[in-house]
């Protein structure tokens, strides 16, 4: 693998919360166009890893590089979002009073400054993009409903739709199928594979059936660092992984 193929590079990232080490010299390399599943028990540091990548949490030590020369630890959340890193939260967070349509509208990539949004009118191009996103996440019939009125699974999908509307290079999804039915989970796996054709994805999940369905390289986190990585069959045969998941 050449350096030019690297999209995201975490090197020796450590995060302490009042003496508690949430990430411990974590290193991880993601290639352009790759989809990666990250698994690990509760408290392993998966969400903290996403916080570090998206600028919410500054690491105490370590490097977080995006592309060849962008150091993410020097940037804040809006700047990182503008670079093309989108994030879906563990707890679905959509804009509840706004319609499904407006949720997507606010997420559409474009000028974020007040001086633009004060005068902005919805263009035909924007309408077309919103419709296409709603089509992809199967929320076309719900476009006029309040975000807050959607079911849990629909909110998860709306948030994925908002992520797509941002047109990011890299999508970070934190437990996207939590609370979904089996059928919805399957559809989500399909959707992520579809998205992965054009974008890189990091997906954190607990649901093993889902991870299996994605059929991508898996990284197992434990106590803030990488315990094991490889195919799902490889990691689930790894005795250290078995011990962490089943040993106690």
């Amino acid at each position: 693998m050449s350096e030019a193929d690297t999209l995201l590079y975490l090197d020796g990232v450590t995060v302490n919360f009042d003496g508690f080490r949430a990430l411990n010299a974590l290193s991880l390399v993601l290639e352009k166009g790759e989809m990666r599943a990250v698994i690990g028990p509760n408290g392993a540091g998966k969400t903290t890893m996403m916080d570090v990548i998206t600028g919410r949490t500054r690491p105490d030590t370590g490097k977080v590089m995006f592309g060849l020369d962008t150091d993410l630890t020097k940037l804040d959340e809006p700047a990182i979002a503008a670079l093309g890193i989108g994030r879906k939260f563990q707890k679905p967070t959509v804009f509840e009073p706004h319609s499904v349509w407006d949720n997507i509208l606010l997420a559409l990539s474009g000028d974020r400054r007040p001086r633009f949004s004060l005068w902005a009118r919805e263009t035909a191009e924007e309408k077309r993009r919103i419709e296409s996103v709603l089509e992809t996440v199967r929320l076309k019939d719900q476009r006029d409903r309040r975000g807050g009125d959607l079911s849990h699974g629909q909110k998860q999908w709306l948030e994925i739709g908002m992520l797509l509307a941002q047109e990011p290079q890299l999508l970070l999804l934190d437990e996207p199928v939590a609370g979904m039915t089996d059928a919805e989970t399957e559809q989500t796996a399909e959707l992520l594979r579809e998205i992965n054709r054009t974008r890189s994805v990091v997906v954190v999940e607990h649901d093993m059936a889902f991870v299996r369905a994605l059929d991508v390289k898996v990284t197992v986190l434990h106590e803030g660092s990488v315990l094991s990585d490889g195919s799902i069959d490889h990691v689930s045969a790894d005795p250290r992984v078995i011990e962490v998941y089943l040993g106690r």
Binding site: F95, S99, R112, L118
Partner: protein, 364 residues
């Protein structure tokens, strides 16, 4: 711009009622049954200025989640700018007959006009200052506060501290704004005697026009894409940052605009009540403005106007009939509204129409 029923009614009543009052005052004889006495005109004008303050508070509280407990400061600053103009119009008609210096400066033994009083004899300059001073203060304050991500109760407390600091400053005689007594005994505005019925009626109608204009501006802002971002910031600020928005920039714009709106209200208030003094900076005034908005219905704009008028009408009645009980009544009203009418009076209308406004229901 399309107007729905609520907006149409709001504009119609906000302009129609004051206009009718003014016309009845001007065209009917004092003895006529339909005659509106001048004191009613003055009261109505005062209510409308308070409604502008309420609208300003609702814009930041209802739509950006910034609970300002210092908005009366911006109102008062606009009022002082107008007060300075009116003082300069008195000229040699003051008690000391000094054409250049207002009475209180002569009384303090000052020999010349302080530099910051220059230009205020010119109406357009004074009005420009009534917008600029509150706007600049809000911009500086907001830039510091929002950039450091001060939110919630902490922000409310520092807005309260801001108005309190100004209260203390304006009390001082050496500030050159009349100290404790403030400014009063105004003679005329743009050549018209401030006390005259005709002037008062005109000021009432002008206030109504400004209130309508402010309502329209506020409404188009909250319905714009900017407004949608603002509501998103109010409910889930951190989420907007991960979408690439800078909440501090949005808050700063709306906060500054809101201060300017309050300043306009203050500027129109002073000629109609005939006095401006430091008590306008009193922390309680800002808190009252928040209560007006809560009573009318936070995040509805129309409710802000309605709340300001209803509560102040109540205040006028109470201070006449049972002056000692007003503060208790106000407190009780606030508790009642908080417990039983979370969306204020507008919530009652919306419940009847079974169709809550999207801005309204979200204001939690």
């Amino acid at each position: 711009m399309k107007l729905d029923r609520t907006a149409g009614l709001t504009l119609g009543l906000t302009f129609g009622i004051p206009l009718t009052l003014a016309l009845l005052n001007q065209t009917t004889d004092v003895s006529a049954a339909l005659h509106v006495p001048t004191y009613v005109i003055a009261l109505a004008g005062k209510y409308l200025c308070f409604a502008m303050l309420a609208l300003a508070v609702d814009l930041v509280w209802g739509f950006a989640g910034i609970l300002s407990l210092g908005h009366a400061a911006f109102f008062a600053l606009g009022g002082y700018a107008m007060g300075m103009y009116l003082m300069r119009q008195i000229g040699s008609r003051g008690v000391y007959g000094n054409a250049m210096l207002p009475d209180f400066m002569v009384f303090l033994g000052w020999k010349e006009l302080p530099w910051y009083w220059h230009g205020f004899e010119w109406f357009p300059f004074a009005m420009f200052m009534a917008l600029l001073v509150p706007g600049l203060l809000a911009m500086g304050f907001g830039w510091l506060a929002f950039r450091s991500r001060v939110t919630g109760v902490y922000l409310s407390i520092i807005t309260q501290a801001l108005t309190y600091a100004l209260l203390l400053a304006f009390f001082r005689n050496d500030m050159g704004f009349g100290g404790n007594n403030g400014m009063t005994d105004f003679k005329d505005i743009l050549g018209f005697p401030v006390q005259a019925d005709g002037t008062r009626s005109a000021l009432l109608v002008i206030s109504a026009a400004f209130l309508c204009a402010q309502y329209l501006v506020a409404r188009s802002i909250v319905r714009s894409r900017f407004g949608k971002v603002l509501i998103a910031v109010r409910d889930t600020e951190s989420r907007t940052r991960f979408l690439g928005y800078r909440p501090e920039a949005y808050k700063l714009v709306v906060w500054t605009l809101s201060a300017v709106m309050a300043g306009i209200g203050g500027a129109l208030y002073v000629p109609q009540v005939g006095i401006i003094n430091p008590s306008e900076f009193a922390p309680a005034n800002s808190i009252e403005a928040v209560i007006w908005v809560a009573v009318g219905g936070r995040g509805t704009l129309t409710g802000a106007i309605l709340g300001a008028v209803i509560v102040n009408f109540g205040k006028t009645w109470f201070t006449g009939a049972l002056p000692n009980l007003w503060l208790y009544a106000l407190g009780a009203l606030f508790i009642f509204v908080t417990l039983f009418l979370p969306n204020g009076v507008m919530g009652l209308f919306a419940a009847r129409a079974k169709k809550p406004a999207p801005e309204l229901e979200a204001a939690e």
